[in-house]
């Protein structure tokens, strides 16, 4: 009976409990299920011990290749994670708690999320932040839906320079809603502002851009914000949080809703998740925000404390009228983001951003020195940039992977007429030696 130590009862205890429950067997408790509905098969393999389970998982992990020098990004970035992040987010009281519905016994989570919201506000230059969304892509979709609610309009304009994954997710979210999504094709790796001007009208709820964009280019969004606001729409920007160490914040640029993926803030690559999405906005829009929000208040003795607030926006209260369907979010990943940002700190985040850019600029110069390779010159970049090879990128990438280098993301799958284009990412973890290796390996393939 006691096959698993995760079901602790002994046969004696089960007998006692059955007698209280007035049943002669556990099976009897399943009597409410009509016999004809009962499962006829159940093909899960037999269980195993913890030791065997872990050995199996090690074997699976060993079927991946760990020895890969990453010059790839595209939404997830290979950044340092200070040891404190694992140690502190690994405190059982954080990771085995639930959503802090009972604030008196959840002040740890609540205060941390309040601090997280503050960190996001300060990093993005926005006034209010929620307590996390799923990831950067769904955060774009949530921001778009938020703009639809705020403006009461029905169209979303998306810059084609936004990550193709984010654009796909946005379209999925809006798949069956009475909303039109208009995409503007990139122009030399930048937003085509003329095309945008042409489609800005009274139906447009929001314009969604990304900065730096998928090609790595950084744009000054301030003029764009004016243009968008003049049309009565909101400007939504997806940003790379580490880059905000040196790039003017979306708040300062006039953005209305800033979103992004928090993976780079202390969350491991982990084959794509979990990560978290952040969403910060001007305070005026707070009641239209999706997701949990933590607010400061006082207890009945006047002592400071924190609670989930503005819950009247949420699904467990408002059901189909909620601002979002989010219930579980990515609280623990947001906590990791907070710990990361607090470890790196005010000066450190600027240093870290500079280090990324320095490495990327070095790599850019090295790669540009390879005969036949050119760099997309449109705009300054942060830690990603686009190069054009003298021949199609895909087979070159496939070849370098075999040598243990992931040299970048070919754009072929995402943009037309871009077979030779490659987006190269260089984080602070990449050494000069690795960059030089990439250069030589690439040179040899071309």
């Amino acid at each position: 009976m006691n096959d698993s130590h995760y079901c602790p009862h002994t046969p004696e205890e089960i007998r006692e409990m059955l007698s209280v429950a007035g049943a002669s067997s556990v099976e009897e408790l399943f009597a409410p299920i009509p016999p004809e509905l009962r499962a006829k098969t159940f093909n899960i393999p037999p269980g195993m011990s913890e030791f065997e389970t872990f050995a199996r998982m090690q074997a699976i992990a060993a079927d991946n290749s760990a020895a890969m020098v990453n010059f790839i990004g595209g939404g997830f970035y290979d950044h340092i994670i200070p040891a404190v992040v694992d140690h502190l987010s690994g405190r059982a009281e954080f990771y085995t708690a639930y959503t802090p519905y009972q604030p008196e016994c959840s002040q740890g989570t609540l205060q941390a999320l309040f601090e997280y919201q503050t960190a996001i506000c300060r990093l993005t230059g926005m006034e209010v932040s929620n307590a996390s969304l799923y990831d950067g892509a769904t955060a774009c979709a949530e921001a778009a839906m938020m703009a639809l609610r705020v403006t009461g309009r029905t169209r979303i304009v998306v810059d084609g320079c936004v990550s193709p994954f984010s654009r796909q997710v946005l379209k999925t979210y809006l798949y069956n809603q009475a909303v039109e999504v208009v995409e503007i094709a990139p122009l030399d790796g930048l937003l085509n502002r003329a095309a945008l001007a042409a489609c800005l009208d009274e139906h447009v709820a929001a314009v969604l851009v990304q900065n730096p964009n998928f090609f790595g280019c950084i744009e000054d969004l301030s003029p764009l914000a004016e243009q968008v606001h003049a049309a009565g729409a909101l400007l939504v920007a997806s940003v790379y949080p580490i880059s905000l160490g040196i790039i003017t914040s979306p708040g300062e640029m006039g953005v209305d809703i800033a979103v992004g993926d928090g993976q780079s803030l202390g969350n491991p690559l982990s084959f794509g998740g979990p990560s978290f999405g952040f969403l910060a906005a001007k305070k005026a829009f707070i009641r239209n925000m999706p997701g949990r929000i933590v607010g400061e208040t006082v207890d009945k003795n006047g002592k400071r404390g924190f609670v989930l607030t503005l819950q009247a926006r949420e699904q467990h209260i408002k059901r189909h009228k909620a601002t979002s369907n989010i219930c579980s979010n990515q609280g623990l990943c947001a906590l990791r983001g907070l710990i990361f940002l607090s470890a790196v700190g005010r000066e450190g985040v600027a240093d870290l951003a500079r280090l990324n850019r320095d490495k990327a600029e070095y790599a850019k110069a090295r790669l540009a020195g390879i005969p036949g390779v050119t760099v997309l010159p449109s705009a300054p970049t942060f830690n990603e940039f686009t190069v054009f090879l003298p021949k199609p990128a895909a087979p070159v990438v496939a070849e370098l992977l075999k040598q243990g280098i992931a040299p970048g993301v070919p754009l072929e799958d995402y943009y037309e007429d871009s077979a030779n284009a490659l987006v190269v990412t260089v984080t602070e973890k990449r050494t000069k030696k690795e960059i030089d290796w990439l250069t030589e390996a690439l040179r040899a393939e071309l």
Binding site: Y6, N301, G345
Partner: protein
């Protein structure tokens, strides 16, 4: 406790960054160059550690307290699962999307494939997508699949039907998926009113969303009939897997007639709740809906190699970046293979046994509006205590002072002063007996000294908080 920002000292550093081995780049042009650094905390590593370690100690959690939060399945999260997740930390998801990159990710891709197969077996579905990032995200994805299905058939449908006892995420998710909601009341016997359901159905209904067992912890004996009725109107049946912990190996939603199901890995499959997430909400579907599943999909080719399909024409697209909350899926996968067939059956059996044990033991002290054999959870009402001015929330606070996380209160909405208890299978009889004693003490104190209950909690870092003030002042970012 002070905020981390209140402990901040200008110029202090918490981590030393790697030294640069490349020349400095010229600065960004003005306008793009941030002028004022972001006002992040400036603390030492010790300050940081002490701050967050002490913050953690302000929480109740499964590892420190019994946490019978109904409908949340706060089971114990085996430690080996955390260790398993760490094994996959170094792998970049983009690798799999590069030309020839799949070869370097066979472990991860194969695990996702296998997990899908096992979840399909558990739920009685034909195929599973592991992309959705949470239960509600799975719901949205599932209803979008249903909309794609109807669209492909040329059906024009505009409604989704939900019972009034459903999770709030059900109607909220269906709304994002573009539907209007029809809510069907619960009958006095504790299930969706069958007659009213019939009346609600029409050819314009795209889907019916059900939890089974429902949020009262009751298995609906008419569930097959409901499925048949829905199908007769061309509607599909959506199964909210939040309560799957009750029925593993006992009944499969697919066998009953459900067409789409989501699974909460952080409930049934033992991954931790993280103080609100991350979870994961894989979605299983019957054959007819497979063409619409999100991409990339993972297939196994003839040689046993796992390959990505990134462009299936019927797909609803991408529900999220990359491959979903991968680390959560690692934990769930390890959980399933560790417990195995018999272990999972035992989980459901003991979850149900525990809930019935608590139900019977507490029945003399609390109103039990639906007095039946329950599944994995049971719902009491504090209506008897209300006579003394004590609400469900007061009972909850009383429990906190005695070291118990309260059950879910005021849900489902159909029970007045609801107290929804889900012990899960991982709690011992001793833990439940101690909890029961405190619940009985609460009931007695509510009669003998109601003020003592109203004053609780007294032992926590804060007493009851002013939520109105929080909502009014919207102080959501530290301004110091």
């Amino acid at each position: 406790m002070e905020l981390i920002y209140e402990k901040s000292v200008p110029g202090r550093r918490g981590v030393k960054l790697p030294a640069s081995d490349v020349p400095p780049a010229p600065p960004l042009p003005e306008g793009l160059l941030r002028t004022e650094p972001a006002g992040l905390a400036e603390v030492s590593e010790l300050d940081l550690v002490r701050h967050f370690t002490n913050l953690s100690r302000l929480n109740f959690s499964v590892d420190t307290n019994f946490y019978p939060l109904g409908s949340c399945t706060m089971k114990y999260n085996a430690k080996v699962l955390e260790n398993a997740a760490v094994l996959f930390v170094p792998f970049h998801p983009m690798t799999a999307l590069l030309p020839g990159g799949g070869e370097f990710c066979q472990g991860s891709l194969g695990m996702l494939y296998d997990l899908g197969q096992m979840l399909a077996d558990i739920t009685g579905m034909d195929e599973v997508t592991t992309q959705p990032l949470a239960g509600a995200h799975g719901e949205m994805t599932g209803i979008l699949l249903i909309s794609a299905y109807h669209r492909a058939k040329g059906n024009r449908k505009k409604y989704v039907v939900v019972p009034d006892s459903s999770h709030g995420t059900n109607p909220a998710s269906a709304t994002i998926a573009g539907y209007e909601i029809i809510t069907v009341p619960t009958a006095p016997y504790g299930d969706m009113d069958l007659e009213l359901f019939r009346q609600a159905m029409s050819d314009e209904v795209a889907a019916v969303m059900m939890t089974c067992p429902n949020t009262l912890g009751l298995f609906n004996p008419h569930i097959k009939e409901i499925c048949d009725i829905a199908h007769s109107f061309g509607a599909l049946m959506y199964y909210d897997g939040a309560n799957l912990n009750a029925i593993m190996g006992k009944v499969k939603p697919g066998d009953v007639g459900f067409d789409v199901v989501h699974v909460n890995l952080h409930k049934t499959f033992g991954t931790p709740h993280g103080g609100g997430g991350p979870g994961a909400g894989p979605v299983g579907v019957k054959k007819a809906l497979i063409p619409f599943l999100p991409q990339p999909r993972i297939d196994m080719d003839d040689e046993g190699t796992f390959v990505l399909q990134t462009s299936r024409p019927g797909s609803i697209g991408r529900a999220a970046n990359f491959f979903g909350n991968f680390g959560i899926m690692v934990r769930a996968y390890a959980y399933i293979i560790m417990l195995g067939r018999e272990g999972l059956i035992q989980v459901s059996e003991q979850a149900v046994l525990n809930a019935n044990y608590i139900k019977e033991r507490l029945k003399p002290y609390y109103d039990l509006p639906y007095d039946q054999t329950c599944m994995h959870e049971c719902v009491f009402s504090a209506s008897r205590q209300l006579a003394h001015g004590v609400h469900a929330i007061d009972i909850a606070k009383f429990l906190i002072d005695r070291g118990y996380h309260p059950p879910t209160v005021y849900f489902p909405l159909i029970v007045k002063e609801a107290i929804m208890i889900e012990p899960t299978e991982t709690e011992s009889k001793a833990a439940m007996d101690a909890f029961i004693d405190v619940m009985i003490e609460a009931a007695r104190t509510a009669e003998s000294d109601p003020q003592a209950v109203l004053d609780a909690p007294l032992t926590m870092p804060v007493s009851r908080l002013d939520e109105t003030k929080a909502a009014r002042e919207q102080h959501v970012c530290y301004l110091g």
